[in-house]
Amino acid sequence: MLQAPSRDYSSVLGLALEKAKNALSSKGIVFSVEEGKGFYDIIVEREYLVAGATALKEAGFDHVVSLTVTDYPKEKKFRLVYHLTSYLDYEIAGAIIGLGVEVPRSDRPSVPSLTQVWRSAEFQEREVYEFFGIEFEGHPDLRPLLLTPPVAELRPLRKDFVVREENIYEGVPKSG
């Protein structure tokens, strides 16, 4: 249970990062840390993803806030980050730590699913699957969530899908 007085967010974030680092290095996982504004991303190699997730869950990061995927067509990769935080661990509650992996960009990229670790990732993984076409191995129910299957085939959030916007005169009937 969170208590008054309100705490300084950056110190909580620092504490959470330390905790996450300790949890990962105790399992012998290699990682690199990237700083964002208001959060840290811990990037691991693909084979460490499930082990790292289990370690972080044990360290108290109990749910996924956002499964953030960014497409970098120039570098030919997807950056896939599970942004995590904690409800039940008072010390680190609210601090956002990302557990990320870089996926090579291809037609059918795939990563191991973390739904078994965090149930809260289930719908977000389905969402990423339909928008980016990234397949999650071992996901219990991998179907498109928001889009219909033909639209999901277009992988709408990849950078090579370009939105065409109508101009100001479209929709204006010619005669008065």
């Binding site: 208590q3 008054a4 007085p5 309100s6 100001i168 929709g171 204006v172 005669s175």
Partner: protein, 183 residues
């Protein structure tokens, strides 16, 4: 004083007595409002709400102030504004004309966010305080430069009585006539 978490117990209600009294309380409050509804409905076309000054209604162009900077067209989130080139008299030599850019607006797309009014460096655009105008066809909603400079006719005002909704402690909103009756 910083905010804090407060754990509260859920108010429990049970037993025959509470059941009877709660039923009666619900019935009484119903009957209270049945006798005095305290309603604030506006009988719209017969009455219409007169909106405050500063309401973000239709946007009108004051052509004299426009400096053709195109900021309004660029900030428009729904791409409803567009700059067109029209000939205007040359400022120094009246017999010559020069081409100048002015915005026009497509009200099919306008979302009344007011960004164009706020970005205009010379206050050439302004809001009027009404928005409920019906058009007979879509083409009319595309305003050309002449229409854009005139405040549109407001037929509701001709048919109805203006009223104003006042926030009231007892009634929530209270309908009051917006103006004193003439005569």
């Amino acid at each position: 004083m910083p905010p804090k978490v407060a754990v509260k117990p859920l108010p429990k209600r049970g037993g025959l007595l509470a059941g009877v009294s709660d039923n009666l309380a619900a019935l009484m409050i119903g009957i209270k409002y049945f006798l005095n509804p305290k309603r604030f409905s506006i009988y719209y076309p017969k009455e219409y709400p007169e909106l405050r000054k500063g309401y973000r209604g239709f946007i009108i162009l004051n052509k004299q102030k426009c400096i053709s900077c195109a900021a309004c067209a660029r900030i428009c989130p729904s791409a409803a504004m567009k700059m067109i080139r029209v000939p205007v008299p040359h400022p120094k030599e009246p017999e010559k004309t020069v081409m100048k850019q002015f915005p026009v607006i497509n009200y099919q797309r306008c979302i009344f966010c007011g960004y164009c009014v706020d970005i205009c460096p010379t206050e050439a655009l302004y809001h009027v305080n009404y928005h409920d105008i019906v058009y007979e066809n879509l083409a009319e909603m595309f305003w050309d430069l002449d229409t854009f400079q005139k405040e549109p006719e407001y037929p509701t005002a001709e048919e109805g009585i203006p009223v104003r909704l006042m926030i009231h402690e007892e009634y929530g909103l209270l309908k009051v006539p917006a103006r004193e009756k003439q005569g």
